[in-house]
Amino acid sequence: MTYLRAVLLVAGKDLKVELRSREQLVTLLFFALLVLVVFNFAFDFTVIDFVTLGPGVLWVAFIFSGVLAIGRSFQIEREQDRIQGILLSPIDRSAFYLGKVAATVLFMAAVETLIVPVAVVMFNFHFSGRIALAILALLLNTVGFAAVGTLFAAMTSSTRRGELLLPLLLFPAAVPVALAAVKTTTHILAGRPFAAYGHWLQMSAAYDVIFLAAAVLLFDYVLED
């Protein structure tokens, strides 16, 4: 089996399981919606410019729901010791990691696709920026968050307090991606020129490459007990 087919097989299995159970998407969606509603009541967006607070609100919703998605992704594999079934197979273990990242990115992207329009309506925001760049920023930062999150989830899922350890390890490591995500989104929503935030996009891309490459190289050892 080729490496890419193994990645797609793992990701496809996760998607199929999720389509059947609908455990993750519903939880993630309601959690993200709840964040929007809370912020909508906490701040008067008729007075405060959405561009000032909105990107932070959106990324709080995406990052926290992302933590839920990543944690659940490995919890499924630990139940019935399913992860052993995959690790016993001849596929490269990094293909398993990339498959998990791909599935998490798709789950987070599905939530983002539904939440962004809701936020635009809820906060009565008139978007005048460049949509393609906004999508690129969402994608780059979602991939970065999923890459580092999946690596830490693999490390912590076999520990007794894994669900507690995951956010403790993940949030400090995800600070660069959260910072870049909020900054880029703010500049794009404000309709500023690319030169104002191009370096943030570059940073997100570099973060993705570094963490994906490091995880692919280290994943075999991460799963060692």
């Binding site: 089996m1 199929k16 399981v17 159970s21 019935q80 052993q84 079934g85 001849p90 490269d92 007990d225």
Partner: protein, 248 residues
């Protein structure tokens, strides 16, 4: 796939050790398992049975000593190639409850890169007598049916060595009898089996050879023929069984 009885031993361990920090889970195991032999591992909890199976399954690396599987050094060989020759069955099924029986087998068949996953899954479902339930979700299966499917999963790729970790746990009498029958069939096809269990009677019935582990050391090694469970029970409850491993 039947074992090559003229080939190298399926398992060859010399001074095999596994440590978790200061704890020695396995300490200086010397073991040779020829092709086609059925071995049962006995011992109290924490004796190192599951650790030994995990080492044989290449799920973890040895901390010391040498381990050769199918004549290949584990640490320097292509782990994927070795894994494709090994099947693993545990009391955990490794199955996804939201997928159907057929989808579970197709997933594993594809993981193993089988040339015709559909055909392999169909044949395995037939052998497990689950063809009529193949499109039901595994979550709707009884424990016995799930274990039959788990056996089918572990044999899907035609492994030469089957590792079994407490496979009878949680099974009722009828399901246990079926699993025993399946193990007898596997032995008849010449596959090498290594099984860890707490059930002495079932272990003795399923094996050609009995190993007793205690505190990470191999304390007893003898042919299963002629041993009765009462004698083994006495060995297992005695603090110090033998001075060291006994040769076959």
């Amino acid at each position: 796939m039947a074992a090559d009885r003229d080939g190298p031993p399926v398992v060859e361990a010399r001074g095999l050790a596994k440590r978790y920090g200061p704890l020695a889970a396995l300490d200086g195991i010397d073991l040779t398992v020829p092709a086609g032999q059925a071995v049962v591992l006995l011992g109290p909890n924490g004796a190192g049975k599951s650790t030994l199976l995990r080492l044989l399954a290449t799920l973890t690396r040895p901390s010391g000593g040498r381990l050769r599987l199918f004549g290949e050094e584990v640490l320097s060989s292509d782990a994927g190639r070795l894994r494709s020759r090994i099947g693993f069955l545990s009391h955990q099924t490794f199955l996804y409850e939201h997928l159907t029986g057929r989808e579970n087998l197709l997933f594993y068949a594809r993981l193993y890169g089988l040339s015709d996953p559909e055909r392999a899954a169909r044949a395995a479902l037939g052998a497990a007598r689950l063809s009529d339930r193949q499109d039901d979700r595994v979550g709707a299966y009884s424990r016995g049916m799930q274990q039959r499917l788990a056996i089918a999963r572990s044999l899907l790729h035609g492994p030469e060595m089957i590792l079994l970790d407490e496979p009878f746990t949680g099974l009722d009498r009828e399901s246990s009898a079926r699993l025993e029958e399946r193990l007898r069939q596997l032995r008849a096809t010449g596959r090498t089996c290594v099984m860890a269990t707490h059930d002495l009677d079932q272990g003795l019935r399923a094996a050609d050879r009995v190993l007793v582990l205690r505190g990470g050391r191999l304390e007893f090694d003898a042919p299963a023929r002629g041993l009765d469970s009462a004698r083994l029970e006495a060995l297992l409850v005695t603090p110090e069984t033998a001075a060291g491993p006994r040769p076959l």
